[in-house]
């Protein structure tokens, strides 16, 4: 069946990236704080598996630290999206057709209308670049995604008989949303979460590529790419390593998301159930 293969491959790749990030909290092959300019741009060797960058720092260590930033920013951005988006979606579904529903939906369309990268630049221009502002900038554009998703799923659930039974049992819309609807849309949120997580990694890379993501000395893949870009003819490995790492991480997360969707997909579950 298709599901396990993408689940396994996705799981393995994401696992590797996560462990690298976790391990870099404690240990990295070389201390990236010590610059050794004399060593700069050495190609991959036994000492430095992925070579050295333009300040003489070990690229593998930089990538591991960069994984920390990417994962933290992308994860928190998804957190912002779910924490704000899901309740909004549930509330809109509970008040379907009412003013709240209309307002939330119009608000969603408006946020979607704004060009995401431009708003990210504006936020960092106002509050200064940095990981926190990148989280806010990316998070804002996750909110409508989760709001729309949870509203759609909740609307179909509101029509089901077990919700009628709960209303006959005297439960309020809020309580029904919390006890009945939220548990049944968790699968969708998890699957969409992984997709938005991978998009978050890409967005963080783009932001730091134009200099607005995490600032030095915190490492970031996007900035590594921007610094290495001019050296692409001189030392291609410096530009290739971060690019490939981003591709692998996003690919891993997307495969994981696909695998989870097939695993938790209600339709398949119903067929099995």
């Amino acid at each position: 069946m298709k599901a396990p293969t993408s689940l396994i491959v996705g799981g393995v790749i994401s696992g590797v990236v996560l462990t690298a990030a976790a391990c870099s909290l404690v240990w990295t092959p070389y201390d990236v704080k010590l610059l050794d300019v004399a060593q700069k741009l050495r190609p991959p060797s036994l000492a430095h598996w992925l070579g050295v960058d333009h300040f003489g720092r070990d690229i593998l260590s930089m990538l591991m630290l960069g994984a920390q930033t990417s994962i933290a920013v992308a994860l928190l951005a998804v957190g912002v999206g779910v924490a704000a988006g899901a309740p909004l979606g549930l509330w809109a579904a509970a008040r379907r057709g009412g003013v709240a529903d209309e307002l939330i939906m119009r608000g969603n369309d408006l946020v979607f209308a704004f060009p995401s990268l431009v708003i990210a630049i504006l936020i960092t221009a106002v509050f200064g670049p940095g990981a926190i502002n990148a989280i806010i900038a990316i998070g804002i554009f996750n909110i409508p995604v989760f709001a729309r998703l949870s509203r759609g799923a909740a609307l179909t659930l509101w029509r089901r008989d077990f919700i009628l039974a709960a209303r006959v049992a005297g439960k309020s819309s809020f309580r029904i949303s919390w006890e009945h609807i939220l548990p049944n849309i968790l699968n969708l949120l998890i699957v969409q979460g992984t997709i938005q997580f991978s998009l978050g990694v890409l967005a963080e890379a783009a932001l730091s590529y134009i200099g607005l993501g995490a600032q030095p000395p915190t490492a970031s893949w996007g900035r590594m790419l921007a610094d290495a870009q001019t050296l692409v003819s001189l030392a291609p490995h410096v530009a290739l390593a971060p690019g490939l790492t981003i591709v692998l991480t996003v690919l891993g997360l997307n495969l994981l998301g696909d695998g989870l969707r097939d695993l938790l997909d209600p339709r398949l579950k119903a067929a099995r159930g």
Partner: protein, 315 residues
Amino acid sequence: MIRYLLGRLASLIISLIVASLVIFFVIEIIPGDPAAYMLGVGAQPDTLAALRAELGLDVSKPERYLRWVSGMLQGDFGISYTYRSPVSEMILERMWVSLPLALYALILSTLIAFPAGIYAASRRGKTGDFAVMGLSQLGVAIPNFWFAMLLVLAFAINLRLFASGGFPGWDKGFWVGMHALTLPAISLALPQAAILARIMRSALIDMLGEDFVRTARAKGLSRAQALRRHALRNALIPVLTIIGLQFSFLLAGAIVIEKVFYLPGLGRLIFQSISSRDLIVVESTVMLLVFVVIMVNFAVDIAYAAIDPRLRRRR
């Protein structure tokens, strides 16, 4: 049908008004003063004050907002602080790069995604399906600015088939312009094609499971005919929404690509105006982009009604 469109038009106008308020008052709180940026380090306080007066920066915010909105309604976005020329003229010049680039990338993406999505859906579960889905996963995962860099390295520097960037202008001929936009369009189109192919595939698979496709097969239509004549048209509705969203992203989201190919597009205009605190330009450009996105959504709604009779008469 008319009532349906009138309803949409009303909500559209409200969104525009709300958008203009949000844009103006968010952007106005950006610290930094355009006059100081222009006169640089050596300027005296009195020259700064004089320049600020000339640029009309000393007027209160609400009044400036009203002046900006009333100007906008007559198509005049005001005068840029740093460029000292009409903002509408500058935006028009940049629009001549960003719009064709967005359209070019959208067409490329659709031309790739439709056949790929249909092929994958019709061979669901077989190797063909895996191959297309695998490629699309890769396409989504590659950051387009990195892909652009590789394209420049391969085709501009080494094979010299394309210019490394820049835009010669349409007056040098349509094909010369398109030639210059080819590499940027490809790097923009790749991730969008990957996304669209996946959505096309899943929409088609959903439709193939519907009863009316089984009815068509029972009539004697072959699998391919049933897909083309019945499933495809129904699958267009979800796909259309995505194409609408993609167009608005391509128009505004190409900032990074414009940087790599040093194209004089809207994205770079916004980026430069923000760093030089030319706020009147930033506000007008973002407002225009929001306006285009809302109009594109409105066009997609009309397309819905054209495709789906259920929306036409009864609503």
